[in-house]
């Protein structure tokens, strides 16, 4: 039988998947992110319904408890997501600089060059 805790966790998974689909429809996230998200929560649901499966998988990897496996995986996932956010933030930061730079140069009356930029390609220059 399904316990109350399992029911709660399952509804959580269904909710998360629903939100992901909604976001995809609103074009807030891409197809890859949707698939990843659905896959993750589906895996979560399977483990909630059949906790023994997690134990079997954990044993395969030399980990004694299924809960430990889930914990390790989630920590890894969180690290990965954090890193992605950090890189994205850095990119946004650089894009802001490009805008601020363009505005600054325009305001100073320097939108046009008096002399063309040297664009000669030299050995060692990545093109």
């Amino acid at each position: 039988m399904i316990s109350a805790a399992q029911l709660f966790l399952l509804s959580l998974a269904v909710l998360a998947m629903g939100v992901a689909v909604l976001w995809f429809r609103q074009r807030k996230i891409g197809a890859m992110a949707l698939l990843l998200w659905l896959f993750l929560w589906a895996g979560f649901a399977v483990v909630v319904l059949f906790p023994e499966m997690a134990v079997v998988l954990a044993h395969l990897l030399g980990i004694s408890r299924g809960v430990d496996l889930a914990l390790y995986l989630s920590v890894m996932l969180i690290f990965f997501l954090l890193f992605r956010i950090y890189v994205r933030l850095e990119q946004v930061d650089r894009q802001i600089t490009q805008i601020v730079r363009a505005v600054a140069l325009r305001e100073a009356g320097l939108e046009h060059r008096e002399r063309p930029r040297d664009e000669k390609v030299q050995p060692g220059d990545k093109v």
Binding site: V87, R94, V100, L105, R117, D118
Partner: protein, 229 residues
């Protein structure tokens, strides 16, 4: 020949006026001089003071850090038609006499990129700064394969072609190492010239302390992982 001195400045109202006067008074025969101050989103009178002293002020609407400001300043210098671009800190730590010394190798064609090195004679430098600068040089060498005596220097000179080929993408202090990396990547002919450093309580309070230094290291590593746009 046209020489443009680029000074990135963020809340430097106490020092910027004197720095501009010093640069103006520097004796550089054969050069027509111009000064660009990049007012990097200052909340004080930095921009007004710089303008009143005769500098061309380029204003960042938001504070972007010294890297972002240098990128803007160098681009502005090129658009002004600079033959030589000099970068200079706004906190008054450089001696105006040294501008002539770092420009000389470019004037004579001996180099395309010159680093004013505070580390060749670092006797006046506080020991903690000396250790930090050595570590920064080591890091720059490990991460960017660029070997230099002073990777964190703010006083540099570039020929026009060098300045127009160097790509600056980072926003903050990691730009110092990035420039060293660019000099290496583009195989620019470069020399390090010894310069004096004027350490005052003010200029010491403005540089990178321990905490910011660690942040810079982290951001430098991160910048290696971000795709260039």
């Amino acid at each position: 020949m046209k020489l443009v001195v680029v000074i990135p400045a963020y809340n430097e109202e106490f020092a910027i006026g004197q720095v501009i006067q010093h640069v103006m008074s520097a004796n550089l025969p054969g050069f027509e001089k111009a000064i660009i101050v990049v007012n990097d989103g200052s909340s004080d009178k930095t921009g007004d003071i710089a303008r009143s002293k005769g500098a061309l002020v380029v204003r960042h609407l938001l504070n972007r850090g010294v890297g972002g400001a240098l990128g803007t300043g160098i681009e502005a210098a090129l658009r002004l038609g600079a033959d030589v671009v000099v970068t200079c800190d706004a906190d008054g730590q450089h001696s105006p006499d040294d501008i002539g010394r770092i420009v000389e190798p470019i004037q004579t064609g001996r180099a395309e990129a010159v680093t004013g090195s505070r580390m060749i004679d670092s006797s006046a430098m506080p020991w903690s700064r000396r250790v930090a600068n050595h570590l920064a040089n080591l890091t720059t060498w490990i991460l960017l394969a660029a070997s230099t005596t002073d990777s964190q220097s703010g006083l540099r000179a570039f020929s026009r072609s060098a300045a127009s080929r160097i790509r600056i993408t980072t926003n903050r202090y990691e730009v110092c190492s990035e420039i060293c990396g660019e000099v290496q990547r583009l195989r620019l002919r470069s020399v390090d010239v010894p310069i004096k450093t004027i350490y005052t309580d003010y200029s010491l309070s403005k540089g990178q302390g321990f905490r910011v230094g660690i942040k810079t290291l982290f951001r430098l590593i991160l910048s290696k992982l971000v795709r260039q746009s």
